[in-house]
């Protein structure tokens, strides 16, 4: 079975641009979460979606937004990119909400020039 897939794997943008990152959860998983991992640090929670509704939001500015589609895939959008947005963006999926094991993708490496 396919795991969590994220696209693209690498991305280079310049300051002020906009970016969309995509995530396909494991088949049958209805919850998707997004995390930002800056180099040398642990991942930080950005969003969680379950059944297409936002269930949690971390301490990130409004430049960050996300949505979940009827097929449970998800997009993370970041506007007005800053140098500090350079990071590995990780997507995790789980079967349902609550304390379910979360399965992570390999991430999208975003570099801002």
């Amino acid at each position: 079975d396919a795991g969590v897939t994220q696209s693209p794997t690498h991305l280079i943008k310049t300051r002020g641009q906009h970016v969309t990152l995509r995530c396909s959860p494991i088949s049958g998983h209805k919850s998707v979460s997004w995390y930002q991992q800056v180099l040398g640090q642990g991942p930080q929670f950005i969003f969680q979606y379950y059944e297409k509704e936002e269930r949690g939001r971390g301490n990130f500015p409004d430049r960050f937004s996300a949505r979940q589609f009827p097929n449970y895939s998800s997009e993370l959008n970041v506007n007005a990119l800053l140098l500090g947005d350079s990071a590995l963006y990780l997507c995790a999926s789980s079967f349902r909400d609550g304390n379910q094991p979360q399965h992570f993708g390999d991430g999208t490496r975003l570099s801002i020039l």
């Binding site: 929670f45 949690g56 971390g58 609550g98 304390n99 094991p101 992570f104």
Partner: protein, 113 residues
């Protein structure tokens, strides 16, 4: 608020010797605790989780962790290190019933021949 403190940023062991990675947690509620491993340029893999059942938790690849409420600790151990164990290890806490994971800063495990 929940948090975890990983007491060592780097741990070096020789192949075949025991591994100890230390983690202390802080939580206002009964926490769920996890250990994740991250190999270079990869996503996160769940090693084990504690959710209020047995205090000694066995995970994959020979790892185990013991939940000690009196010490607010959740240390990760393995009797005998293997070269393939070299990676970054994250101690993680979440509030029971919620998906948001709070990660520690990570411990890099180095294994020498």
């Amino acid at each position: 608020a929940q948090s975890v403190t990983q007491l060592d940023s780097h741990v070096s062991v020789s192949e075949g010797t025991p591994v100890l990675l230390r983690c202390n947690y802080s939580s206002s509620y009964s926490p769920s605790l996890f250990w994740y491993v991250q190999h270079p340029n990869k996503g996160l893999q769940l090693l084990l989780k504690y959710t209020s059942a047995a205090t000694l938790v066995k995970g994959i690849n020979g790892f185990e962790a013991e939940f000690k409420k009196s010490e607010t600790s959740f240390h990760l151990t393995k009797p005998s290190a293997h070269m393939s164990d070299a990676a970054e290890y994250f101690c993680v806490v979440s509030e029971r019933g919620f998906q948001k994971l709070v990660f520690g800063t990570g411990t890099r495990l180095l294994v020498s021949p």
